[in-house]
Symmetry: D2
Subunit: 361 residues, 4 copies
């Protein structure tokens, strides 16, 4: 067996060189911080070969890093283990495998699991667990209680994935809610938005989540306005796991879904003003004023006029500057235009209202 | 335990719906057939979680299908099993897992393995195996003999990956060659081209290969001229595994590497004429003739003049039509221009010479 | 002045080398011929600096050539000449300037003009003119009559561009129609589709047009499914101007607008079958059959099931192959699936119905 | 003629709405300011239909604005007027036409002209002219003197465009230089780099220029690292024409050419440090330290190690963050790595040397 050992030691460097694409690069997501908080880009729902995913856990770190994420939670199904004939069940292994690689890449990584029961009651993610094993228990509420005893944060995943009928709020959910065992809901999961989850979060003060729930490899090289993972933005006091946990408990999140931002006005409004830079007017010809506005973010800005002044719509694709022309009398120093941001959603079917103040030339 | 069973049966359809992206589409590679043969796009070297790869075997089928491949061989390392603490070694499992999915997608799939020894003697792929287990044996030549007793096709991988010094042709290789146990070499592996392998293949009549050797997920949605997997083109009598095997034994291959085609002139010349459509001249002004040429393939065509007539260079990016202007007397019916195709390589540093005959207007 | 002459002769070759990008290439549009006819890609409406456009006429040839068009008509406004202070009006100059360059590039080029009156009656293109000058006359009907006396083909442009109210069919249009002076309408102009024009064309047997009406440089390097000029497809007996004229008179056109094809079922149905290649089923597992279909065109195919068999929708992006799965009993040789092509429009709000026959394995 | 007037007034709004794509957006170029100076993106060489270009002058404003430029000079040939049969020569018209549109878009626009003589002496741009007409004079040196009497800035264009032999420095150039009538040279023109111009600029203290010399429409929607206009970066005290002029006189420029920056070390070094953000190491495992570096610019950064510490090469594509791993003993607070930036050129074949200081964790 001696020769074999020698072979293996050489192979180690083969494997460092080839499969770990060391030169791989990261593209930051342009979603600025807001006053008082860091805007962290997070995905709290994903799978690996240790449940029904098809990638080794480290792939989840590499994908998230190159796409500009700050925080991930690996959340394999506890009860559903279709590969267990080849990979014997070990609920804590995925986290153990990703933890080191995450540190090397300065990615924050959370131990999680998906409690996967019949629908209803449905699927729930428990994140910030210390040990997944105790959750592998038959009784559903016992499992949820176990998670909470570990101070885990528990949220309801894609509640209506089998239809609104199967996603109703039942007594079991009330029990969880009343015991303070349920802390959030996925308003968006993958390519689906659940308006009913959105409404419940606002009504019951639950934290809003948007997650990928990826099982396949994520093929995206970077996050672009046109093609990105569904993400949860967490407004945290600093870039640490403790700060993420505090922000989730305080409900300071928003969801980046398709070309929309979904969240409470308290956070979307400062985020909007951090994204849009309104420049002073640079030219006037008679009563016509010309100014420019720059969208510093990776989310398009689609504005619809609410007042009487300014163009009817202003459309600023991510990362671009637009020329805006409007009329204003010569004797005023600035004007304030009233718009709504049609792709910033503060409640189902409700856009964020904003005011744009422009200094005149 | 009864409730658990019910949960699982529901989950099966969850998993069919979500992770298996059924609507996923395939982009054919534009590399036309040549007279007498189908041009099959093949990758004979790739890894999964069953050795040091990071994807479940089915991912290799999905990637190959969407990228327009016809044939793949899954070739996990026999001796190098870094995940075996989590996934106990089973050499035949990767093939068993991919076989069904490959049939659904009409992809031809070959059982293979990588014999992974110290360098020298190096790494060798054995493909068209019936059973990988007997190859897991200590003695290297015994292992190669085992493969050949199964009628496997054996080729030497990335022979100089540790430098030309460590990739020398040694007695052990002569033994394999003399026993007819070695049938080909990788001229290209991933992003590396080995001119010495190219020379040896021509000199010793070995079959030329170009393979990906992927360990990571392949992020490419499709094969493009600018970004594609290193592939082996096999000129086969039909699209079956038997025909692939026959073609490999007969040495009818070429390699698509970066923006180059590498192969014997016997196959590159007809392939060139299948790729380039030369139209009759459409306009004449005095002695100046105008004609167009269309590159019907996914490989750029870069031509350099060898004779005295025609433009000094003709550059036809993949899939485009170029306007070509040259002078010709009024009283001839056609002209023949002499060029070399600088990105079609028939030996190290040797381009394919071609003749273009153009009917004059 | 002698030195100046020498300077100029040298400059000629400077200008041949630099601004005329000789190596510029053409990307053919993938829209196949139909039985009996060539499918020509045409744009019959565009402007240059000789009216209110901002490019020299040759630019229109270069753009059309690289984008894969076969036929263009340059149609500067007769009555609207905003640059005439710098460029004195000469209605026939744009055609004279483009004609030679079009021949070099094998592009068919038509002499046209836009009759540009108040709306109503609106703007009308006259194409296949021999001399534009006589159309520069005050009386509108006299102008239209002049065009017809030259055997020009006359169509109504963007009839409702100032709103449906200003685009009504009036007595003046009836006069034109009754005199057979009006032969077609723009169903699509630039990024606008006019359902009322679509309905009138079907009702009054007018030829359907879709044109760009470009004034700016067209920045597109090639025509892609996502980003292309609005075009008229002409189903012509051959690729000549005479054949185009015959096809227009016979109403054999369709419009490529956004990701839609708009036209009569007589031509869209054979075009659909020329675009979609349905392969025989390649695999069966119990009652489940797997087959693939290839969209050979540059227009996406979005199919919605009309019958009871087959997937509810089939979505085949341009140039891709899709995997289709359906159930069929073991004892039949083929099945015929009924679908509608939701982005092939045979009348306002009416999709093309199609039948797909699949040989079973 | 009264009805005609009414038609025209309506057409004016047609033309405002359609051909002037008002919603067109601008993409800023990411090339940061350096201490004490704004980094302005400038193109001082371009043509219109008023000489041998093929676009109306306003097109030059639209292109420059959307591509993120700050300053343009329209520089039509004085002596070469191939369109004059259609557009009678008026040397000051191009500037008059662009000036208003430039103001609306906050683009700085300079009146210029290209003095276009035989080669030798060659072509020279005069910018910051007040009146182009006096330069239309037969004697070359008289023309250059005229330009200088207007306080114009004069630079030699693409001096070796007809070969180094025809681009020699002759007595006439010495006369210009000694009279202080020649202030700069194009080191890059379009897709050509002239090392001899580069050397002369350094030797004779001439200002370095890189310009597009566009005649055709510029099809680029935005400036990308892979595809952008050749530009002159001007390090100006503020964003005004006066400041541009002062900076040109002081030689504070660099050239963005392909994926290279070319300029004096005095400006490239601070620009490099403004582009590259080096983060403190975030993780240590034994002696291995992990840190990240972010390239905040639109120019790739290709670093090659000069010292003994750090990876041999660091490749940071535009806008990305890279992970860098190196060894360092545990008891030091920071390390300084020595590299050269292979695509920042401070003289022909000479890269910029840089030091990277990294705080250790």
């Amino acid at each position: 067996m001696k020769p074999r050992i020698k072979i293996l030691s050489l192979l180690v460097c083969f494997c460092l060189a080839a499969p770990i694409a060391w030169g791989q690069v990261r593209h930051e997501i342009q979603l600025p911080d807001i006053p008082g908080y860091r805007t962290l880009k997070c995905d709290f729902h994903m799978h690996t070969v240790f449940s029904d995913g098809v990638v080794w856990p480290t792939v989840r770190v590499d994908e998230a890093w190159r796409q500009g994420l700050d925080v991930i939670a690996v959340t394999d199904h506890i009860e559903y283990q279709p590969h267990k004939g080849d990979i014997p069940t070990q609920h804590n292994r995925p986290y153990q495998i990703v933890a080191g690689r995450a540190k090397e890449r300065d990615l924050l990584c959370i131990r999680g699991a998906e409690i996967t029961r019949d629908t209803p009651p449905g699927h729930f993610n428990a994140i910030f667990l210390h040990d997944v094993e105790p959750l592998d228990t038959e009784d559903f509420l016992e499992c949820v209680k176990q998670a909470n005893e570990q101070k885990a944060f528990v949220f309801w995943n894609h509640h209506a994935w089998k239809g609104e009928e199967k996603g109703k709020w039942l007594d079991v959910h009330t029990t969880m809610y009343d015991n303070k065992w349920l802390h959030g809901m996925e308003v968006c999961n993958g390519s689906t938005y659940y308006p009913s989850a959105h409404a419940w979060c606002l009504e019951k003060n639950l934290t809003l989540f948007g997650n990928s729930d990826i099982h396949d490899p994520d093929l995206r090289l970077q996050s672009t306005p046109q093609d990105h993972r569904t993400l949860t933005l967490v407004f945290a006091k600093e870039r640490t796991l403790e700060a993420v946990q505090e922000a989730l408990r305080a409900g300071r999140t928003a969801v980046w879904f398709d070309d929309q931002l979904i969240g409470r006005a308290d956070y979307l409004e400062p985020l909007f003003h951090a994204c849009l830079e309104v420049h002073a007017g640079h030219h006037r010809y008679k009563n016509t004023v010309y100014c420019t506005m720059t969208n510093r973010s990776d989310v398009d800005l689609n504005l619809r006029r609410q007042g009487r002044q300014g163009p009817q719509t202003i459309s600023l694709p991510a990362g671009t500057t637009g020329l805006v022309k409007f009329t204003a009398p010569a004797d005023v120093e600035s004007v304030t235009l009233s718009y709504e941001v049609t792709n910033y959603l503060i409640a189902p079917n409700q856009s964020l209202p904003v005011q744009l103040t422009i200094k005149l030339p």
